[in-house]
């Protein structure tokens, strides 16, 4: 049971492109990479061509610690699964504020794959990255709660 992941069913894979490939590959290795401006050093997410702080279009991939704090979350019924008691079984979608970034706080939208119900998530909770593979050597950066 501990190996089960709470992930939404039948969701599309991301489009792999030069502007995001590094993060999928990092996630496959259990790491979290986001863009960092090569001129001012500010991290940013989601991937974009220019730096919000200095407008530079020069960037590189930067490995972060991979930990963060839950900023907000929702529970969405997954109709493909059997109901759990009164309510449908739900997957979560979570916004996580990432640790170890330069500049304004950087948040990522993801899933906490070991959280199954309302008691498993709260704003302010500490989580860490875990890769969920979708292709060869590429994974989605998802998260799990830290005991």
């Amino acid at each position: 049971m501990t190996d089960r992941l709470n992930r939404p069913a039948d969701m599309p894979d991301p489009v792999v492109a030069p502007i995001n490939e590094g993060m999928w590959r990092a996630a496959a290795g259990g790491q979290l990479a986001v863009q960092r401006c090569q001129d001012c050093g500010a991290h940013r997410y989601p991937p974009g061509d220019g730096c919000y702080r200095c407008s530079s279009c020069r960037w590189e991939w930067s490995m972060l610690p991979g930990t963060g704090v839950v900023y907000s979350y929702v529970w969405i019924p997954d109709r493909s699964r059997a109901a759990a008691g009164d309510e449908a079984a739900c997957y979560n979608v979570v916004i996580v504020t990432l640790d170890g970034t330069e500049g304004e706080p950087v948040r990522i939208l993801s899933n906490v794959v070991n959280a199954w119900g309302p008691r498993d998530l709260r704003v302010g909770q500490v989580v860490e990255v875990v890769g969920v593979p979708f292709a060869d050597s590429m994974a989605l950066p998802c998260f799990r709660t830290v005991a």
């Binding site: 969701m11 599309p12 991301p14 706080p105 939208l109």
Partner: protein, 418 residues
């Protein structure tokens, strides 16, 4: 109503209502255009008018608005739209017999944010003399789910747009989830509850009882709200509007031309389409202080400054209410209650039509029809003509505030004309 401590332009209060016009907070030319006609097509449920087609719905709304104004359809010489509308004015103009087509403009970006931009374009066109009678029109047939098109636009196994790669694979697939995420943050920061969300839906349904055009004219209770189907926790079915088909239109012209038309004009005191910093198209990386908002605090600052009005001057508020948290956050964004206090504010009955600041007396998206804010604008005109199904006594100033959508959204302040 209370003199509220909402967002203030640059830390300075804009001049009071009594001082309007005397001390302009900017060089914005107030009241340079007005609304002289309103119209709409039949309203239907999602997909009901698939065979009718978007152009025909738009034409129905435009003809209705022309009739209301006392204009010939061929007199329309400008068109503005929003929300990436595919109803092309070049085609509408042919069907209307438009003799002179002088101006068209479309506001980029989806969801609930673009209506003030479309009104701003009409306003600017009229004020600058680029066109004489500009129609702002929104035509909608929901053949594909907006939710799908937003999250991914595709079914399982199909490729998605690059920009959806950071949301759709994680199951962020429905518009209510965007509001639910903001609602959760709002609950965590301020103690807002699902009872507060319910009050917004209850108010909308209650108002729609008197609206013959409304799709949902039965009242609901808190218990029924809480028992409705879970959509994206903390939001339930009764927190959501129902997708609709239909079209609405308003005709904008100059005060001089308005004087020759059938209706008492409703003046567009000011309009703003200012976006929030790093808002993008509803990013989860907005500035922290505006995440739990509709993204309109800067738009409010600009709008009140341009209008020479302040939140306490607003008699009726029309807020984009595709989902209930939108109204709570709008009350805060537009300065009608302090930030974080919208929950208790609605619990006290303030947004009911007998309250200190009636919100959506027509029933809004939650109960009348969901046409991306356009029907709110019709209600604003009715309130200032004194012809609403739930007329607010002595309504002189009406505010429209956009919903969560691509930046820039914005707002409109309408005033009783003449």
């Amino acid at each position: 109503m209370p003199d509220c401590a909402g967002p203030r332009p640059g830390g300075d209060d804009p001049p009071s209502k009594s001082a309007r016009g005397a001390s302009s907070a900017s060089s914005f030319p107030r009241d340079a255009a007005c609304i002289v006609g309103i119209g709409h097509s039949a309203y239907g449920k999602r997909g009901e008018f698939r065979d009718v087609g978007l152009p025909r719905l738009a034409l129905d709304a435009i003809h209705d608005a022309c009739s209301d104004a006392g204009l010939e359809a061929r007199d329309i010489d400008g068109f503005t739209g929003y929300c990436d509308d595919v109803t092309a004015p070049s085609d509408l103009a042919v069907s209307l017999g438009t003799s002179e087509l002088r101006y068209t403009a479309l506001v980029w970006g989806g969801r609930g944010s673009g209506l003030p931009g479309a009104v701003a374009n009409a306003y600017a066109a009229v004020a600058a003399g680029l066109a004489d009678y500009v129609v702002v029109v929104r035509s909608l047939i929901q053949t594909s789910r907006l939710g799908q098109s937003m999250a991914a636009g595709v079914g399982p196994g199909d490729a998605i747009p690059l920009s959806a790669s950071y949301t759709a694979p994680f199951g962020m697939a429905l518009p209510p989830a965007i509001y639910a995420m903001k609602a959760r943050r709002h609950m965590s920061l301020y103690g807002t509850t699902t009872e507060h969300f319910a009050e917004v839906a209850i108010n909308a349904r209650r108002n729609a009882v008197n609206n013959p055009h409304a799709r949902f004219r039965t009242e609901i209770t808190v218990e029924e709200h809480h028992a409705s189907r879970l959509i994206a926790d903390p939001l339930r079915l009764f927190d959501c509007c129902m997708e609709s088909d239909g079209a609405a239109a308003v005709i904008v012209t100059s005060p001089d031309r308005a004087a020759d038309l059938r209706q008492q004009p409703v003046s567009i005191r000011a309009v703003s389409m200012t976006g929030e910093y790093k808002w993008a198209s509803v990013s989860f990386n907005t500035a922290d202080e505006v995440y739990a908002s509709t993204g309109h605090r800067r738009a409010a600052r600009d709008l009140y400054a341009r209008a020479g009005l302040r939140p306490g001057d607003v008699d009726v508020a029309l807020f984009y209410d595709a989902f209930t948290p939108s109204v709570l956050m709008s009350l805060e964004d537009w300065g009608l209650c302090p930030i974080g206090e919208s929950g208790p504010f609605v619990a006290e009955g303030n947004i009911r039509r007998e309250g200190s600041i009636p919100v959506n007396p027509h029933g809004g998206h939650l109960a009348e029809v969901y046409l991306h804010g356009s029907t709110h604008l019709l209600e604003g005109v009715r309130q200032l003509r004194g012809t609403s199904c739930n007329q607010i006594a002595d309504a002189d100033v009406v505010l429209y505030g956009s919903g969560v959508g691509a930046a820039p959204g914005g707002g409109i302040l309408l005033c009783r004309g003449g």
